[in-house]
């Protein structure tokens, strides 16, 4: 936490506060079957230990709607209607067996699976689902995805649950299907205030049950009556609490087997794979991108970042691969100015546009752009006509060692083209307070993102997410203060349509805005932190079999990984 907790803490936020959004483009209602291997051959047993630094001891609260507790119960204990892979947007039926949009995308109907039981033996019914959604309406404090801003009613007919919306709301499928966790009416109806409810003894429908919890460790055991026959295979999950990266990484690097890591580890080959006294053959890691960019937010209301040529020159003058190498051991892939995560969202990436505007690294071109805009070099730094030095302070979180390194590397690059970057490393709270007020020249940060580019764009560019500069009104995520009626209406149109073709056209237009106006400068692509050990267990996510977003802080993806793991 003090120095290098950096990535752990961001990943934590990302997970704990409902990682990301997705839009299901799948119009077909059937999805791949859940079974990966005939259950008969697989032995029941084995324990996995999750090593995911949350920076605090466990409070033994399992409220699936608690800001810091969701990832401990959402998925593992309480399940969603539909599962969506956060990395590649592939959907899968879960508590519901099918769904359909109707009435111009204003009505969504789920059909509930039959035979699902709560851990106490009572059946899970459509009434429980309706109860859960009505609970979010009665208590806005647990409606963390603002579902009821678009939803107008939920009713059930036998095993069907019908959601009626005020307007077409296709992007909200993800919130409703994947990010709302169904709770039992017979226990939760007695809860006075679900916002402050601890839920220390949760009863869910999920694959695992809480066995015991202490501030230092949570132990889950297999739910033998789980509705997916023969699953889960694992008999136990251990989830120790680590208050700091040094503890979490020490445990992961040490001689412990069957550990599922979700950690940023410096120099991972030496310190994890080839750690002393361990069998390096069973140690693996994979850091796939996770639908968000790490970004430089230029303040569009302040000189000199309000000048397009300056923003373009920065984007062209950054050697992003080098920034990654020097800042984070090259773990994060370089981002592109279009703001599309490749390879994950490759189908959205408009190559011809990217080629036309061409933001590939080219220091000579960057300098020319500045000269054309009237800047003159003196003592190696550009100055404008009034003699003002092209020097930009960059707001950054001093505790995130990787971010600090990245900005330093970027500063060295831009110095070459005559732009001075001055890192201003502050605490996390000051960083976000200044971003929300607009009191900065340039800020280094990342949005939460999502499996399709729409969500990152909505956070970055929607004028609903910005505010005027100064205290009082706070910007939620559009910190650069970008306002464009055209982009706002493109984002609205996106929500109206279920057609993949139309959605692609809309995203193409937004990419053009990113390339033409450079509202923000994407630097690197954020990744899942994921280490795994194959001493006794198999079934892990890997490049060839990417059935879930593999970092343990992604929920409910973590449930899908846990259901795949089994003894060799």
């Amino acid at each position: 936490m003090l120095c290098s907790r950096s990535v752990g803490s961001r990943s934590f936020l990302r997970a704990a506060f409902v990682a990301s959004l997705a839009i299901i483009l799948v119009l077909v209602n059937s999805a791949p079957s859940l079974a990966s291997k005939p259950a008969a051959k697989i032995r029941i047993g084995g324990t996995v230990t999750i090593d995911n630094v949350q920076g605090s001891l466990w409070s033994c609260s399992f409220n699936p709607y608690g800001a810091t507790t969701s990832l401990l119960s959402a998925g593992i204990i309480y399940e969603p209607l539909w599962y969506v892979n956060q990395d590649n947007n592939k959907g899968q039926p879960w508590l519901a067996k099918k769904y359909a949009w109707s009435n111009h995308n204003k009505t969504l109907t789920f059909t509930l699976r039959s035979g699902v039981k709560w851990a106490d033996g009572k059946p899970l019914t459509a009434a429980d689902v309706v109860f859960t959604f009505k609970l979010l309406k009665r208590f806005p404090g647990i409606d963390v995805n603002a579902i009821w801003t678009v939803l107008s009613n939920v009713v059930s007919h036998k095993n069907k649950i019908v959601f009626s919306f005020k307007q077409a709301a296709v992007p909200f499928f993800y919130y409703i299907g994947d990010q709302t966790f169904i709770v039992p009416q017979h226990t939760w109806s007695k809860v006075k205030n679900p916002v402050t409810y601890l839920d220390a003894k949760p009863t869910g429908s999920g694959p695992f049950k809480l066995h015991k919890c202490s501030p230092q460790n949570i132990e889950y055991i297999r739910n033998p009556h789980y509705w997916q026959k023969g699953k889960p295979y694992l008999s136990k999950i251990e989830y120790p609490a680590f208050i700091d990266n040094s503890g979490g990484n020490g445990y992961l690097d040490g001689n412990n087997k069957d550990v599922w890591g979700a950690q940023y580890i410096p120099n991972i080959n030496a310190s994890y794979v080839h750690a002393p006294n361990v069998n390096s053959k069973v140690r693996h890691y994979w850091f796939p991108p996770q639908g968000y960019d790490v970004i430089m937010y230029p303040n569009l209301k302040r000189w000199p970042t309000n000048i397009l040529a300056v923003r373009q020159a920065i984007s062209i003058g950054l050697d992003r691969a080098k920034v990654s190498r020097l800042g984070v051991y090259g773990y994060l892939p370089p981002a592109n100015q279009s703001g599309i995560i490749v390879p994950d969202a490759k189908s959205w990436y408009d190559k011809s546009l990217a080629k036309k505007y061409n933001y590939s690294y080219n220091p000579g071109k960057a300098k020319k752009l500045l000269e054309k805009a009237g800047f003159k070099l003196s003592n190696g730094i550009f100055h404008d006509k009034k003699g003002r030095k092209l020097s930009i302070s960059v707001l950054n979180v001093g505790g995130y060692s990787d971010w600090v390194g990245e900005v330093q590397a970027a500063a060295a690059d831009l110095r070459q083209i005559g732009i001075e970057l001055k890192p201003e490393n502050v605490s996390g709270t000051t960083h976000s307070a200044d971003e929300q007020d607009g009191e900065f020249q340039m800020s280094y940060d990342s949005p939460l993102g999502g499996p399709t580019p729409y969500y990152q764009f909505r956070q970055l560019l929607d004028s609903a997410n910005t505010a005027p500069i100064g205290p009082g009104k706070l910007a939620q995520s559009n910190f650069e203060r970008f306002r464009s009626k055209a982009v706002d209406s493109l984002l609205k149109q996106y929500a109206l349509t279920n057609s993949s073709k139309q959605q692609h056209t809309i995203i193409d237009k937004i990419q053009q805005v990113m390339l033409k106006q450079v509202p923000v400068i994407p630097v690197l692509e954020g990744v899942n932190w994921y280490e795994y050990d194959t001493t006794d267990l198999t079934g892990w996510v890997n490049k060839k079999n990417d059935y879930a977003a593999p970092a343990a802080y992604n929920f409910p993806d973590q449930m899908v990984v846990l259901l795949h793991l089994h003894l060799k």
Binding site: M1, L2, L13, A16, F17, V18, G55, S56, L57, S59, S61, G66, A67, T68, F139, P140, G141, D143, V144, N145, A146, W148, T149, N193, V195, T196, L198, K212, S214, P215, Q216, E219, E238, P240, I243, D244, S246, G247, G250, Y251, G254, P276, S427, G428, T429, T430, S432, A433, D434, E435, Q436, P447, L448, R458, Q459, D462, N465, L474, Q476, S477
Partner: protein
């Protein structure tokens, strides 16, 4: 009697000043619990949700700062600390009580041990000042107390856990064991405490040794010690009852203060050994703009230090008749 009253008066005024500072300081930091919350959700909260959260946190943005202050004092008087923002929805009192026993045990025991050991060693080295023990032990512990704590902690982990696997490197007890009252659990807690406690004692004992030694050297040259020697008393009796009893007085106040600060936790120890405790809570409360948790922790420390100072005064009065004398 008037001494006691005067002390109490002082106690009440200090307490009020500290409580008021506790209220003001967090509010002077940039941002608020709400901005911290918004930063986490990044553009997904509806205005209704924001309001609901504010209500749950007990934030009423329209209230004047003075009304907030009165509510704050009222809540404190009733022992109502509210819900933690960082550990939402856990009540502050639960969060603190979870960490406090570990801190009290580890910090309390190590403080007492290093005070007792340090004082004894200080006494002995002063008695034999300039001898072989003094010229070896005193500089050694002075150097050790200057060693950065985290470095010593990491070194201890490397040697005792990574290389030799003799002692556990982290946690307050074995993570897979349940915390039931049994010999096995107590044994676990003790073995897990060896490294953190050992490193704390090694780095903190030097201070006690040095002050005790210097006080003792002073008292040893006093007339009454010469007198005792002349009477032919046994050396240990002179050392403890004549010189030691007087030399310890200044140290006692320091000891009381450090006992008071025990409740503020051991931040570095907790981080290096992933040990549960209050010090880390403090850091987190500040990072999360967790006003309720900060206020509870500050109150606890203020009260503990004030009580410790009162106790030290009382102890001084008992041990040193001069302080009781009417002027």
């Amino acid at each position: 009697m008037s001494v006691v009253l005067g002390r109490l008066q002082f106690f009440v005024i200090t307490l009020w000043a500290a409580l008021t500072l506790n209220f003001i300081l967090p509010r002077m930091m940039p941002g608020s619990p709400m901005t911290a919350m918004m930063a986490r959700f990044k553009g997904r909260l509806s205005p209704q949700t924001v309001q609901a959260y504010q209500a749950a946190f007990g934030i009423h943005p329209r209230d004047s700062i003075f009304t907030q202050y009165l509510t704050y004092l009222d809540n404190l008087a009733h022992g109502q600390f509210g819900l933690s923002v960082g550990f939402f929805p856990e009540p502050v009192i639960n969060v603190v009580m979870q960490a406090l026993p570990w801190t009290l045990a580890l910090a309390g025991v190590t403080t007492v041990i290093s005070f007792v050991l340090g004082t004894l060693i200080g006494m002995v080295v002063a008695w034999r000042r300039a001898g072989a023990v003094d010229s070896l032990v005193t500089p050694l512990f002075v150097v050790l107390s200057a060693v950065p704590y985290f470095w010593l902690g990491l070194l201890a982990i490397y040697f005792f856990s990574v290389i030799h696997n003799w002692l556990p490197a982290r946690f307050g007890y074995g993570i897979t064991s349940s915390l039931t009252l049994s010999w096995a659990t107590i044994g676990q807690i003790l073995t897990h405490a060896i490294l953190p406690a050992g490193t704390i004692i090694i780095t903190s004992i030097g201070g006690w040794i040095l002050t005790m030694r210097n006080n003792m050297v002073g008292t040893l040259s006093e007339d009454y010690v010469q007198m005792a020697r002349a009477k032919g008393l046994r050396p240990w009796r002179i050392m403890f009852h004549y010189a030691g009893r007087n030399a310890i007085l200044p140290n006692l106040a320091g000891f009381a203060m450090s006992l008071g600060f025990v409740v503020s936790g051991l931040l570095l120890t907790e981080i290096v050994f992933n040990y549960p405790g209050v010090g880390f809570l403090f850091l987190q409360a500040v990072e999360n703009q967790d006003y309720p948790l900060m206020q509870a922790l500050f109150l606890m420390v203020t009260l503990a230090v004030l009580v410790a100072i009162l106790a030290a005064d009382a102890a001084n009065a008992l041990l040193d008749p001069r302080t009781r004398a009417k002027r």
